[in-house]
């Protein structure tokens, strides 16, 4: 795949994309706000479409897949600069298993790989709690890590 882009004076910006399968896609962002999309396939057929800005955004989302997947009390994110690394954030309410223990006691990072990034204890929330912070039953924590690290955390401490 190769992409090139250039200015079209009075019109906007043109992006040309040669796909690995030999087709050619041109996208023109119009100064007036919309987008024109041209496809010329390798067998000689060609087609075009004009999209409004919101239609273009919609299509971009479909093509990119969801970058932000929300689930109950958790969210997965993919950043374009770290596209091979899906990052998950999840919040949990702690039970009796971890009552009275600190992050250091539990060796959370060493054991699961996940990191506790926030702690809410008796109505007070802190970001980046220190390793000596102690959990009590009913506290909420926010944990960051990869999918497996998060599920290891849930299995071990809840």
């Amino acid at each position: 795949m190769s992409i090139s882009s250039r200015e079209m004076p009075g019109i906007g910006r043109k992006y040309e994309l040669d796909t690995d399968f030999g087709d050619k896609i041109s996208l023109v962002q119009l100064e007036s706000g919309g987008v024109q999309l041209y496809i010329s396939s390798k067998n000689g057929e060609s087609g075009s479409a004009e999209l409004t800005l919101s239609e273009a955004v919609r299509i971009a989302n479909i093509l990119a897949g969801s970058v932000l997947k929300a689930e109950d009390e958790g969210v997965s994110m993919i950043f374009s600069s770290l596209s091979d690394l899906p990052i998950k954030l999840h919040s949990y309410t702690l039970g009796a298993k971890t009552d009275g223990k600190s992050i250091a006691d539990l060796k959370i990072r060493t054991v699961t790989g996940a990191t506790v990034v926030a702690l809410s204890s008796s109505g007070e929330s802190i970001l980046n709690p220190s390793p000596s912070s102690r959990f009590r039953e009913g506290d909420s924590v926010l944990v960051i890590g990869e999918e497996e690290q998060i599920s290891r955390f849930a299995k071990k401490y809840l």
Binding site: R6, E7, M8, P9, G10, I11, K14, S26, V28, L30, E31, Q36, Y38, S40, S46, S48, E50
Partner: protein
């Protein structure tokens, strides 16, 4: 006075709706509307100080927004094909326009005015035709747009040349150079401040844009250089700040005042007494033909393909706003009428050609095939 302008605008509104419906360039429609109610038609609406003022604003905003597209840093890196296309387009069309006008008996000065108007295509029509006829993916569309940019730069030189010729050339040239340098230096110094100002979301950017254009005209009055020149120069100097925002705020003024410009152009032209019909028709046909010659040369050189030339031809045949601007600024009433009719004919033909260029190319291909078969 106002009732005349109201009637003209109302008629334009109707014609604009028709032109959208038929997918046709609106500029000739506005002129036709003007001709219908003006001197050559029903003679019910006349030019007035108010209409002249609105027309002048239309021209200023047109040239200011044109200047915004002229960012010197963008074409400083341009090479061979850009200059070749631009110079061929300039040389061929100016020369044919000038020679034809002289042969048809026009005096030298008037022949130069006709040649300049004959040369310069309508950027607005080319842009809207490329978008509406879905031609932006074609490599020729880039060539066409850059030819338009080259023509815009040439318009700047044409304005300088005409005003230098009409008065003290040295003083005009020095003043023009000083003003252009002044605009670029001031904008450079205030660049970040202007950018911040233009990003506000109250009415300040709108007021700022309007004030700039009027100020450009004011400065020109003080220094005795054309306001069209200062408007382009200021636009070009500001192209390094936030041209998108300036364009957005200048656009509504431009659109409305330009319509007044077109319709009153139609109103003012006199086709009734002693209008040289045959020379004008000859000029109009030549205007279409000479763009064919320059475009084929461009197609062959830039795209190594005569059919690309046909594509360039179909999009650059329409003359429009800039030709009328030249006619208004430098032409006698008769020359203005002649240029108006050339614009009318070429923009209708160009509009049709832009839409059917695919058929034209197919037709030429068929004829060529038949011709080679016959010879073989």
């Amino acid at each position: 006075m106002m009732e005349g302008i109201a009637l003209a605008l109302l008629l334009c509104l109707g014609f604009a709706l028709v032109s959208k419906r038929l997918n046709f360039p609106p500029v000739p429609m506005y002129m036709l509307a003007g001709i219908v109610i003006g001197v050559s038609g029903l003679n019910i609406v006349h030019q007035s100080d108010v209409s002249d003022f609105l027309t002048r604003l239309g021209l200023l905003f047109l040239l200011f927004t044109m200047g915004l597209e002229l960012n010197p840093s963008e074409f400083s890196g341009k090479k061979g094909p850009f200059f070749f296309s631009g110079i061929v387009d300039l040389g061929v069309n100016m020369l044919i326009g000038f020679a034809a006008s002289v042969l048809l008996g026009f005096p030298i000065y008037e022949a130069v005015v006709i040649a300049a108007a004959f040369y310069i295509s309508s950027s607005a029509m080319a842009v809207s035709s490329l978008i509406e006829n879905r031609k932006l993916a074609a490599p020729e569309s880039d060539t066409i747009l850059w030819v338009m940019v080259f023509e815009d730069i040439m318009l700047l030189f044409i304005i300088v040349a005409f005003s230098a010729a009409s008065s003290d050339p040295v003083r005009v040239l020095i003043n023009a150079a000083l003003v252009i340098a002044f605009f670029f230096i001031v904008v450079r110094i205030l660049n970040s401040k202007i950018k911040i100002l233009l990003e506000r979301d109250d009415n300040i950017p709108l007021l700022f844009t309007f004030t700039l254009v009027i100020a450009a005209a004011g400065i020109s009055g003080l220094l005795g250089i054309p306001e069209t020149l200062t408007a382009i120069a200021l636009g070009s100097a500001l192209s390094g700040t936030n041209p998108g925002s300036l364009e957005k705020h200048a656009k509504p003024f431009r659109e409305v005042f330009l319509i007044v410009f077109f319709v009153f152009f139609g109103i003012s032209i006199d086709l009734t007494s002693g209008f040289p019909v045959i020379p004008v028709v000859i000029l109009a046909i030549l205007a279409v033909a000479s763009k064919l010659i320059s475009s084929i040369a461009i197609g062959l050189y830039v795209h190594k393909n005569p059919y690309s030339g046909i594509e360039v031809w179909s999009e650059t045949t329409a003359r429009g706003e800039f030709s009328l601007a030249i006619a208004l600024m430098y032409g006698t009433p008769l020359i203005a009428a002649i240029i108006a009719i050339i614009v009318l004919i070429t923009s209708f033909t160009g509009g049709l050609m832009g839409r059917h260029s695919f058929r034209i190319k197919k037709f030429v291909l068929k004829m060529r095939l038949r011709f080679t078969l016959k010879r073989a």
